[in-house]
Structure formats: structure tokens, C-alpha cells
């Protein structure tokens, strides 16, 4: 096949246009300095298994050692010859670490490195119509030299120019994952995203891992209700209703309309043998005009449960 003069010329022009695509909002800000996490381990990947290799790298660095074999079982899809982002997130939870997606900028990436955390990134080394998706771990950046250094594939140190890295990273929507130890905050935490990450730990049965992080979140954002709600629930589940009561009361001082907190406060009171006070709290919550139906049903269940309990002990 001998291509005519036309197509290559067009392609070259297109290529040049694409090369010009830049992402100013994602580039290093002025004053960005070199960062490095030299103790980032290296695990060479076998064919198509960059996902397990990259995840093993960041998990091991966070002190949650796993093995390639275990991670292949958890995140590799044989017939897709790769791993899905959400499965890396899920496997992080399984390893008792909190998965957090960083802001989509090189500055956010550098900030995590400065805090001593390597960042797992998804790149498309190809283009949209010929994708080559690849997971790698950024362990150093050098804004002055315009270089990003990665543990990538079978390459312990792969240097990529800032522009090329940004283009390959942009194709994944700047997907960058850090694995946080219990009680660790990201360097520039987005409260919504961080708290969602903790709720997801609870939803998948890893509440014990999230507990120290809820405490830290409450210190960081004392006026947010969700950390107090979680701390109250943890105390309640841990058999400490007095401490649960304190958390729920603190929350209700911030948001008196929080019907779910009032519901759980009632349980904390009932657990301390104060059924009358518990019932009063539930009646107070049920008197609110605009209660979501599911929450109203929950409050009514609590009311009959606590009334029955009171009748049984009388």
C-alpha cells in the first residue's frame, strides 16, 4: 500500500494541531518546585498487568503490603487485558487504605508528592481512536526541567516531558489516585470528595479503617455535620452511648433540623436507659413538616422500637 501525497499531509497537519492542545489549568503554577518520593518501591509489570503493578507500588509505600498475585485476583480482567479504575479503588479499600482522587492538576500531584505520597495515574499513551490505557506511578516532578518521573511498566525510572505527560493524562480526565492511611488527610483535601471516600469505606464494611479519618475530618471541618454523624454512630456501635450522645448533640447544635441525627440520638439515650428523653427527641423530629418519606418511616420504626423496649423493661 503506497499512500498518496494527500492523506499523510492531512495527518501531519492534524497531528500538529493536536500537539498544540494544552491544558493551562492543569499545568504547574508559578513557583512550583521539584518534588520527589525516592523511597517509592518498584514492581515491574508483566504483560497487560500495569494495574496490579502500579497499585502494589502505592499500597506497599503506604505500609499495606499486598502481592502481585493477590492484586491480579482482585483487579485484573483477563478478557479485557487490563484493569478498571473503579476496581483499583475497590481493592484499595480491601487493603485497608482510603482511596482518594486528587484534583486534576500537576500542582495537586506535586502537593501529594511533597506530602510523601506517590500518585497512581491513568494515562492513554495512544489517542482516542487507538487507545493504549496505562497505569503508572508518578514519584517525582521537576517543573524547572519540565519533567515527570514515573515507575512505569518495566521501567523503574521513566522520564516524560511535562507536555506529553499532560496530554496522555488528560485523556483519562486527569485521573490520579492516592492511597491514604487511616487518619491521613490529602494535602489539598476537597471536603466533599474526601468525606464521600469515607462514606464509601463505611458502605463497603471498612468503617474501622475510616474511624481515625472521621476524627481528623471533624478537626479539619468542625462545622460539617457528616463527621459528627459518623463519630456518633461509631461510638454507638462500639457500646459507648454517652460519647455517641455528645457527638449527636454537637451535630444538632449545628443543624437542629437533622432528623437522622435526632433519630440516632434517641437510640443513644435509650441505650442509657433514658427512654422518655429518647421518645421526646423522636416526636420532635417527626413534627418537622418536610421530612423525606424514607426518613420519616425510619423515625417511626425507632419510636415503636424504643416504646416496646421501654415496655419490656418496665
Amino acid at each position: 500500500m503506497t499512500p498518496g501525497r494527500g492523506p499523510p499531509l492531512i495527518l501531519a497537519v492534524l497531528a500538529t494541531l493536536q500537539a498544540c492542545a494544552s491544558y493551562p489549568q492543569a499545568e504547574f503554577g508559578s513557583g512550583a518546585v521539584a518534588q520527589s518520593v525516592p523511597d517509592t518501591p518498584f514492581h515491574a509489570q508483566t504483560r497487560y498487568q500495569c494495574g496490579p503493578a502500579a497499585l502494589l507500588t502505592v499500597l506497599e509505600h503506604s505500609g499495606a503490603p499486598s502481592t502481585m498475585a493477590a492484586l491480579v485476583e482482585q483487579i485484573y480482567l483477563p478478557d479485557r487485558q487490563g484493569s478498571l479504575q473503579l476496581e483499583l479503588v475497590a481493592a484499595t479499600r480491601q487493603a485497608a487504605r482510603i482511596p482518594y482522587l486528587i484534583d486534576p492538576t500537576l500542582d495537586a500531584l506535586a502537593a501529594e508528592l511533597a506530602a510523601g505520597r506517590p500518585v497512581l495515574v491513568l494515562q492513554n499513551l495512544g489517542v482516542g481512536w487507538a487507545p493504549r490505557w496505562h497505569y503508572a506511578v508518578v514519584f517525582a516532578v521537576d517543573p524547572d526541567a519540565g519533567l515527570i518521573r514515573l515507575r512505569s511498566g518495566t521501567d523503574p525510572v521513566r522520564e516524560t516531558g511535562e507536555g506529553v505527560f499532560l496530554r496522555t493524562w488528560a485523556r483519562s480526565g486527569f485521573w490520579g489516585l492516592v492511597v491514604l492511611r487511616p487518619g491521613e488527610l490529602p494535602e489539598q483535601p476537597d471536603p466533599g470528595r474526601f468525606l464521600d471516600a469515607l462514606v464509601a469505606m463505611e458502605a463497603t464494611g471498612h468503617g474501622d479503617v475510616a474511624l481515625p479519618s472521621w476524627r481528623v475530618a471533624h478537626e479539619q471541618w468542625p462545622t460539617r455535620t457528616l463527621p459528627l454523624f459518623a463519630l456518633g454512630n461509631a461510638a454507638l456501635a462500639g457500646g459507648d452511648p454517652a460519647s455517641a450522645e455528645a457527638s449527636f448533640r454537637k451535630l444538632l447544635a449545628l443543624d437542629p433540623q437533622h432528623a437522622a441525627a435526632r433519630n440516632n440520638l434517641a437510640h443513644a439515650l435509650a441505650d442509657q436507659g433514658r427512654s422518655a428523653a429518647a421518645i421526646a427527641e423522636l416526636e420532635n423530629a417527626l413534627s418537622q413538616a418536610e421530612l423525606p418519606p424514607a426518613l420519616r418511616a425510619e423515625l417511626q420504626d425507632s419510636l415503636s422500637e424504643i416504646r416496646n423496649r421501654g415496655a419490656g423493661t418496665r
Binding site: 499523510p8 495527518l11 497531528a15 500538529t16 493536536q18 500537539a19 504483560r47 500495569c50 494495574g51 485476583e73 482482585q74 480482567l77 483477563p78 479485557r80 487485558q81 487490563g82 478498571l84 479504575q85 473503579l86 476496581e87 481493592a91 491513568l122 499513551l125 495512544g126 489517542v127 487507538a130 493504549r132 490505557w133 512505569s152 511498566g153 518495566t154 516524560t160 507536555g163 506529553v164 505527560f165 496522555t168 483519562s172 462514606v199 464509601a200 463505611e202 458502605a203 463497603t204 464494611g205 468503617g207 457528616l226 459518623a230 454512630n233 454507638l236 456501635a237 437522622a260 440516632n264 437510640h267 423525606p292 418519606p293 424514607a294 426518613l295 418511616a297 425510619e298 425507632s302 422500637e305
Partner: protein, 141 residues
């Protein structure tokens, strides 16, 4: 300068016939049980991870939908070659929101793994793109 995806396919053996159905059944049972997963707190207490659902949606009415989505995603993972035993552990660490995100689109999600079929003229175009810094395929991975 070409290689086919087929030749490089992962050497994992195929499942024997019948294993899929058995796996799906296991998953269905597991998914049903896992609806109450992580709810170790006493009855009537609103769990932290249930808060937003209770405040925004119809609560229990969504259970069947959540259950179906979880089974579908599990079956999808099996279709892509995950063993039935591993599938259950894998879906257990996904939230309902993540299950919903994977649901029906599991085949279209990017799977990082270096796989690419480079054939003929495509190779030439990619080479040009590489030279101008658009792609980063050809260095050793």
C-alpha cells in the same frame, strides 16, 4: 510491524461449561445477603452510609434495583474472565454508586493494560503523532 490481540491473549484457561450459571447463582445469593452489608449497628439507627439515600430517595423501594445492578456487574466481571470465587469479593468493595456507574457500561470503561492493535497505516499515523508529542506509545513500557 504488527501484532494481533488474539496472539497475545491472556493464557488463562476457559471456564468449563456450566460454571458461569453456577457463578451467577452464587453472586445472586451473595448480592442478596450483601444488601444489609456493613449494617452492624442496632435496628433503627441510621447508618452513616445510608444517610444520603434516606434523605434523598425512597429508601427500601430501591433495594431490588440495587440488587439487580450488583448481580449484573458481577455477571459482567465473570464474562470478562474473572473466576466466580473472586467476583464476589470484588463486588463487595464497590459502593452502590460505583456499581451503578459500572452497570451496563462495564464493556466501555477504559481498562488500563497496554493493550493495543497496531496495524499498517495506523502504525504510520501513530508514529507521526509520537514524533510531535501527542502520543507516548513507542518507548518501552
Amino acid at each position: 510491524m504488527q501484532y494481533s490481540r488474539q496472539a497475545n491473549r491472556h493464557p488463562c484457561g476457559r471456564r468449563p461449561a456450566g460454571a458461569l450459571q453456577q457463578g451467577v447463582f452464587q453472586i445472586a445469593v451473595f448480592a442478596l445477603l450483601s444488601l444489609g452489608f456493613a449494617q452492624v449497628s442496632e435496628a433503627g439507627v441510621v447508618a452513616t452510609h445510608d444517610l444520603s439515600r434516606l434523605e434523598t430517595r425512597q429508601g427500601q423501594a430501591m433495594d431490588l434495583e440495587r440488587f439487580m445492578a450488583r448481580s449484573d456487574v458481577a455477571a459482567g466481571l465473570e464474562r470478562f474472565g474473572v473466576s466466580p470465587d473472586d467476583v464476589m469479593a470484588r463486588v463487595a468493595n464497590l459502593t452502590d454508586g460505583e456499581i451503578a456507574a459500572l452497570h451496563d457500561r462495564i464493556g466501555q470503561n477504559a481498562a488500563g493494560g497496554d493493550a493495543i492493535a497496531v496495524i499498517g497505516v495506523v502504525f504510520l499515523v501513530l508514529l507521526i503523532l509520537e514524533l510531535v508529542g501527542v502520543t507516548d506509545i513507542f518507548k518501552a513500557i
